[in-house]
Amino acid sequence: MTLIKCKIFRYNPQTDKSERFQEYVIDIKEQSTILDLLIKIKSELDGTLSFRYNCKKGMCGSCAVMVNNILVLSCKSKIVDFKDRELVIKPLSFGKVIRDLVIDEKEMFDSISLIRPYLCPDESLKVPVKISKEDIEKINDSKNCISCGICTAGCASYKLNDKFVGPQSLVKAHRFVMDPRDDLKEERLIGYSKTLFFCAKTYHCTEFCPKGIDVSKNISTLKESAFRYIKKPSKFQKLSKKTFDSIYKKGQITKEGSFNFEKVKNQKEIKKLYKDMMLK
C-alpha cells in the first residue's frame, strides 16, 4: 500500500460558483487502477465525487478521463503507469461538464449519427453474405471502436472547428465504408468529403486510443477512397492533388513557377512507380 496524492476536478453547475481542484490523499496499492482509486475515494473520503464507469474491463467505453494530460480508460490504467508523484484527474474536454468527471457526450454522439453508423446493404445480395478474409482485415481495427470519446477529446481540430465531424465519427464511417456489403459507399464519401480534410494530423487519436485503432490511418483511408469515388474534386482534394502531381513531375515540391531547384537524381524511377500503379 502506498499513499497516493491526487487532485481531482470538481464542479457542480447547480451549486458551485466555479470549477476547482480538490486534493485527496489515500492509501492504496500502486498496482490498482485509476478507477479503483476513484471508487476508494468515493467510498472512504468523499461520497459526492461523480464519475462514470460500468464494465471495469475496457469494453464499454464509459470511464474515459484525463490523468496528468494523458487520455485513458480509468479501468485499464494503473496508478503505477504514471511516474509523477501527484495525479491530476480531469474530465474529457469536449463536452459540457454535468458534474465533476462526467461530461455531456451528446454532441459527439450527434456527430456519429451524421455519418449513418449502420450498414446500408445492397438489397439484391443473397444472404448469408460471404466476406473474404482480406475484406474483414480492412475493418479489423475500426470495428473494435467502443465510442469512449478519447480520440475526440484529444483532437485539436475538433475543438477549434465546428465543421470537423471528429475522429470518433470517422472511425465509425470507416467501418461502414470499407464493409463490402454496404451499398452507400459513394453517397457516404460525398457526404464526408469536406469534413475529412480538416484533420490536422496531430495523431492524438492514434496515440491515445485504448483499443489500439490507428484512427489517423483510417481517416487517411477515407480520404483516399474519396479521391477514387468523387468525380468533382473539392478545393481540399485539389490541394492534395498538387503534392501528388508535383512528386510525379519533379520528385519534390518547389516554389510556384521556380526553375531554380536541384533535380532529384533518377527522378525517372518515381515516374515508373506511378506508371506501374497505373496512376499516370
Binding site: I70, D81, A156, N161, F244, N266, Q267
Partner: protein, 273 residues
C-alpha cells in the same frame, strides 16, 4: 568522434529555406556530424501523399529508405514531417512482411530493395540519443529563457515512432540545458502548430498557434525551440500576420538555429533577429 548521417533536407529546407540549409551544414561541421548528400532522395510525400494513394506513398518512402540501406548509414532530417513519414513507413514495412514483399516487387523493377537497416532521425534524436548529449557548446546562453516545442510529427504516434513519449519525456529540456539557457517547463510543448491545415482552413490553423503563443508569453519565454521546420514556419507565418496587426509574439526558432548560437555562430547567420 565523427558521426555519419545521410542528409535528408526535405523540400522545405532544400527549396524554400536555403539559409537554413547552409546553417545546418555549418552547425554539423562544428558538432562533428558528417552529412552525406544523397542526390537520389525525393520528397517524402509530406504526409499527404498517403491521402491520395496509400500504396504509392509507401513506394516513394521505400525508395528513399532503400537508397539509405544501399549506402548504409542512418538518415538525419531537420523536418519532422519527413521524419514522421519515413519512420512510420519504415515501421510498417518492417512489421508487415506481406506489404514489404509487395513493395519490393515494385522496387525490384528499379533495381532497389527495402531492407530496413537504415533508421531515420531528427537532429533532436541524433544529439539526445545517438550522441547521448555529448557535445560541447562554446557560448553559454545564460540570458535566454526558452521553452521546447516538440511538434506533433516528432512524437506521435508513439507506437510507430518509439523514442519520445508524452507520458515521460524531458530529453529536449536536457539538451537545451546543455546550452546554458534557462529552460522553462512549457505546458504546450506537445501541442500542434496547425501548419498542416493552413492550406485547408487558415482560421483554424491560426487559432491553434495563437494558444501556443499566448502561453509562451505568460511563461516569459524569449524563444520557443523546435526540431521541426514546419513548426518554425507556422510561427514565422503568425509573426507576419502579427506585424500587420502590430502584435508582439514569442518567436520560434529551429533547434539548429539555437545550437548555432551556442556554438558561437553569429546571430545574423543563425537567422535570429
Amino acid at each position: 568522434m565523427i558521426k555519419d548521417y545521410l542528409y535528408f533536407p526535405g523540400c522545405t529546407v532544400k527549396n524554400f529555406d536555403r539559409n537554413m540549409d547552409k546553417l545546418i551544414k555549418k552547425v554539423c561541421l562544428l558538432l562533428d556530424i558528417n552529412l552525406i548528400k544523397v542526390p537520389e532522395f525525393s520528397c517524402c510525400g509530406k504526409n499527404t501523399l498517403c491521402d491520395s494513394n496509400d500504396f504509392l506513398s509507401y513506394l516513394v518512402s521505400a525508395r528513399n529508405l532503400a537508397y539509405a540501406d544501399k549506402i548504409g548509414f542512418d538518415i538525419i532530417t531537420p523536418c519532422s514531417v519527413c521524419y514522421n513519414t519515413l519512420r512510420k513507413a519504415r515501421a510498417d514495412l518492417i512489421s508487415d512482411s506481406l506489404l514489404r514483399k509487395r513493395i519490393n516487387c515494385h522496387l525490384e523493377k528499379i533495381g532497389l530493395e527495402f531492407i530496413g537497416k537504415s533508421d531515420v532521425k531528427t537532429f533532436l534524436h541524433a544529439l539526445a540519443i545517438d550522441m547521448e548529449l555529448k557535445f560541447e557548446t562554446h557560448s553559454p546562453l545564460k540570458h535566454f529563457t526558452v521553452g521546447c516545442f516538440y511538434g506533433c510529427q516528432t512524437i506521435r504516434p508513439n507506437n510507430k515512432l518509439g523514442n519520445f513519449n508524452e507520458r515521460d519525456c524531458n530529453v529536449f529540456e536536457m539538451l537545451l540545458e546543455k546550452t546554458g539557457a534557462n529552460v522553462v517547463n512549457y505546458q504546450n510543448k506537445f501541442s500542434c502548430c496547425g501548419y498542416h491545415v493552413l492550406d485547408f482552413d487558415k482560421k483554424m490553423s491560426e487559432n491553434m498557434i495563437d494558444s501556443c503563443i499566448i502561453l509562451a508569453k505568460e511563461n516569459k519565454i524569449d524563444f520557443l525551440i523546435t526540431p521541426c521546420i514546419y513548426c518554425k514556419l507556422a510561427f514565422d507565418n503568425a509573426k507576419n500576420n502579427a506585424k500587420k496587426d502590430q502584435k508582439d509574439i514569442v518567436p520560434m526558432i529551429h533547434l539548429i538555429q539555437f545550437l548555432g548560437l551556442s556554438l558561437g555562430i553569429k546571430k545574423e547567420d543563425c537567422g535570429i533577429e
